[in-house]
Symmetry: C2
Subunit: 199 residues, 2 copies
Amino acid sequence: MNKKGLLMIISGPSGSGKGTVVEELIKDENFVISVSATTRSPRDYEQDGVHYFFKTVDEFGDMINEGQLLEWAAFCGNYYGTPKAYVEKMLESGKNVILEIEVQGAQQIAEMYPEAVSVFLMPPSKEELIKRLTGRGTEDEITVERRIKRAEEEVELLPKYKFVVINDEVANAVEKIKMIAESEKMRSERYKNMVEAFK
Amino acid sequence: MNKKGLLMIISGPSGSGKGTVVEELIKDENFVISVSATTRSPRDYEQDGVHYFFKTVDEFGDMINEGQLLEWAAFCGNYYGTPKAYVEKMLESGKNVILEIEVQGAQQIAEMYPEAVSVFLMPPSKEELIKRLTGRGTEDEITVERRIKRAEEEVELLPKYKFVVINDEVANAVEKIKMIAESEKMRSERYKNMVEAFK
């Protein structure tokens, strides 16, 4: 039996609440979130290796060139990426590694790692989505409308994911993701060595 | 969201305890076992439509010719088969329909219904398998040895199934099968209509 953890992609449209769900999920010791590498400066409370792996632009460039990143992107003049070595170490130790990423980036990883378990978080209804996106109350109407439009487009990528979890309540959504993980660990590919053991 | 039940194939080698597991599983109202059609005579306690659909040889022949059976086989001079209509009605009503079948028959159905969720029940170890097969104590040594040999061959079909459940304790195995069902119901194919609803 293969005791390796699962690589899990958790994504969903703006307003799906993926941040909150992942935060709750990793309170379970079987799940860890991948720690990203970045070239931006650490904030006061941030620790190297906990919140991010802080790198110079040169170091980050080397990581790209040496194929050490699962994926990377530039954002507001800084680089962000997912270090393979960290993910692999966690998987080997039996932890399920969560990559919480934007809908577009998730697609790239899902194509590179077909064995990854991809989960698309969905708000329960369009009404609820609009309520969540307007409810923050801090943005002007145009920003809110742009966000709704974008969420609608993101929802179209639902069929590209393996699983859909409706986020009606955070606790329910977390429970469902745990069930998916338990079930995916029972895939027969992980038990092939049992055939040998029974000969 | 698609509320149809799942077609679940539960199989496993002789000594895997599939009969007991299925018996426990169907105590949950979300699961039903498919009722077979047969040409053999009903026993005293058996009711038509509950234990079997009792058919004449002519009626059974018509069912075969009209493609009304998912699979069928002859055994000790009688015919046995799985009526499509019953399975379909149960699936439509949202029940997960369990087909508890021998390792070989399970293969045929899995090929005909690639969407079926196939589960291979495994004894926890070869030692335990041998213990279970000899433990019945009613058969002679040759019969037991033949049974062990057959179980070993059946185990080789493990990779053909989607999931493997180790039957260490009946209650655990039942819980695991329920988790697989819950998880498989979250497959994105079942949520495609949500994309339309968010436009």
